[in-house]
């Protein structure tokens, strides 16, 4: 039965440590991201308009002009690319709220809390993932209107992978955001890095034949591995698998996890440091 907490009860509750408190803090920050997004009509409109621009216009043009001679269905290849690109783009953009919170001084409220800086960053990434998944669903609908179909099993597999993709996207974005103190600069940096990732990762242009410096860059960015793992799951058991998938899925999954952990650790360290070292 509920009772009013006394001062000592409250202090004891605050002293609860470990996983439960960190999880509660992460969920709280995640929920804030969702609530703020739902309260912002502009954010919702952008999330739903983005798939029309990216998938309908960019994808549609590419599909009509590049589809020949590839040995696989370019529409499906590009749809998967756009889905992962959307997750990366919207999660990274959402993460700039960490910089915005500095402007409104709200970051002080989070930084003074007795929780891990990782909980703050992961909560913010997952909060941003909400709108990213809304955009991803919008992309699937636009794809359907364009006549590009994915099976229910394939869609569920993509949906199941999406939290990991968002975490990978957020961790990569943290590398930049962790050391930027100005929102305008953060937005510009995120846009630049997203354009580079979209071109270099193979989201819309196959990279199987890339060589030299481009091949090196392809393999340095996490979106390449996220796309490859998703395509490995979607194309599993099909004749196109060898033409579309670059790496062994186990290796890809290991690369995603390793890069995510490394980027998250470096980005969170830089973010915490930039807040307290002035």
């Amino acid at each position: 039965m509920d009772t009013i907490l006394t001062a000592n009860d409250t202090r004891m509750a605050t002293k609860k440590s470990g996983f439960t408190r960190e999880l509660n803090a992460t969920i709280t920050i995640l929920a804030r991201g969702v609530v703020v997004s739902l309260k912002s009509p502009a954010t919702l409109i952008v999330s739903l308009a983005m798939p029309i621009v990216m998938m309908g216009m960019v994808g549609g043009n590419l599909s009509q002009n590049m589809a020949g001679g590839l040995g696989f269905d370019y529409g499906q290849f590009m749809l998967i690319g756009m889905l992962i690109n959307m997750l990366f783009m919207m999660t990274s953009q959402g993460l700039t709220s960490l910089v915005e919170d500095r402007d409104t001084n709200f970051s002080q409220e989070m930084m003074i809390a007795p929780v891990s800086r990782y909980s703050i960053v992961i909560g913010t990434i997952l909060g941003s993932a909400f709108m990213a998944i809304v955009s991803m669903l919008g992309t699937i609908i636009v794809g359907l209107f364009m006549g590009i179909h994915l099976g229910a099993g394939q869609l569920l597999a993509i949906l199941a992978l999406s939290p990991l993709m968002c975490l990978a996207a957020g961790a990569f974005a943290m590398l930049l955001i962790g050391c930027i103190k100005n929102k305008k600069a953060a937005n510009t940096a995120v846009t630049l890095i997203m354009m580079l990732q979209m071109v270099l990762s193979g989201a819309i242009i196959p990279i199987a034949n890339s060589s030299g410096i481009l091949a090196v860059l392809n393999r340095l960015i996490p979106m390449t591995y996220c796309l490859d793992l998703t395509r490995a799951v979607v194309y599993a058991g099909t004749p196109e698998y060898s033409s579309v998938v670059l790496f062994n899925p186990i290796v890809t999954l290991a690369a995603i996890i390793a890069l995510t952990i490394a980027f998250l650790a470096i980005g969170t360290f830089m973010f915490a440091r930039s807040e307290s070292h002035k």
């Binding site: 509920d2 009772t3 009013i4 907490l5 001062a7 000592n8 409250t10 202090r11 509750a13 605050t14 002293k15 609860k16 439960t20 408190r21 509660n24 803090a25 969920i27 709280t28 920050i29 929920a31 804030r32 609530v35 703020v36 309260k39 912002s40 919170d101 409104t104 001084n105 709200f106 002080q108 409220e109 989070m110 930084m111 003074i112 809390a113 007795p114 929780v115 891990s116 807040e275 307290s276 070292h277 002035k278």
Partner: protein, 266 residues
């Protein structure tokens, strides 16, 4: 009474700054004490509070709060402190209650639930009780953007107390508030001190707010200029500024003391 706060030889020099913002200061605060940290603009008050509350790193020295080292045991220190920042730090996109819920859940006092109604009865009653006391119960479900500066300040006070900290840092808490709001805030803060034995660490430019403190430290140009009780500081007055009306106030002593040390420095 034990010391709840101990500062030893604390120095902070900002990146690229020629002189330290806080220069080798030492002082202590006892448990349950009402302590004022006064000084003119740019003296180093906010820098010191930021270091004490673990949001800013120090250059050198030692800070202990509730027995924990502020740098090595930052999480334990954060569990024991509450703060009202100089600049409002509310999320303008959330409602007043959502801001409180965010804080309470972040501190692990309550498990997060997506609506006020779904939160525990204990949370709901505590929030509404605090809101009634500071007089903002009607505004609890309004967006922050629609609250006046005074109401936002009151909300920050509720938020800072929801986890019942042992030591509450107030960095110019009544800045921009009207006289009635200031009075009601101080009435409530005094009740909190009495009921929970909360230590209060205050910085303010309204010196009358510090009239009833147990001890006062004056910081000037990053250095501690004086650390004593208000009565001791008043004894340093060279003249009685209001001889026929009332006894000298702390504000009289503070202004004269600062003027004197500035004059001596020149």
């Amino acid at each position: 009474m034990q010391n709840i706060l101990e500062v030893t030889n604390l120095t902070k020099r900002y990146d690229k700054a020629k002189t330290p913002a806080v220069d080798n200061i030492s002082f202590s605060v006892k448990e349950g004490e009402f302590f004022a940290f006064l000084g003119p603009n740019g003296a180093g008050k906010t820098t010191t509070i930021s270091i004490l509350t673990t949001t800013l790193s120090k250059t050198s020295g030692e800070v202990k709060i509730a027995g924990f080292d502020a740098e090595k045991q930052a999480k334990e220190v954060r569990e024991n402190v509450g703060i009202i920042f100089q600049k409002p730090s509310l999320d303008p996109d959330l409602s007043a209650e959502e801001n409180i819920r965010f804080h309470a859940c972040l501190y692990g006092v309550y498990g997060y639930r997506p609506t006020f109604k779904w939160m525990t009865k204990a949370y709901r009653e505590r929030v509404m009780e605090l809101a009634e006391i500071v007089g903002i119960a009607d505004a609890m479900f309004k967006p922050i953007k629609k609250l006046s500066g005074g109401m936002q300040r009151k909300l920050e006070i509720i938020r800072s107390l929801i986890h019942t900290p042992k030591i509450l840092f107030l960095d110019e808490p009544t800045q921009g508030l009207d006289a009635v709001s200031r009075r009601s805030l101080w009435d409530y803060l005094n009740d909190v001190r009495r009921e929970y034995g909360t230590t209060v660490f205050l910085t303010t430019h309204y010196i009358d707010e510090a009239e009833s403190v147990d001890n006062v430290c004056i910081i000037n140009h990053g250095k501690i200029a004086a650390c004593c009780s208000p009565e001791e500081l008043k004894k340093t007055l060279e003249y009685d500024p209001t001889p026929k009306i009332c006894l000298p106030t702390l504000e009289d002593a503070y202004i004269q003391y600062l003027t004197k040390i500035e004059r001596e420095a020149v």
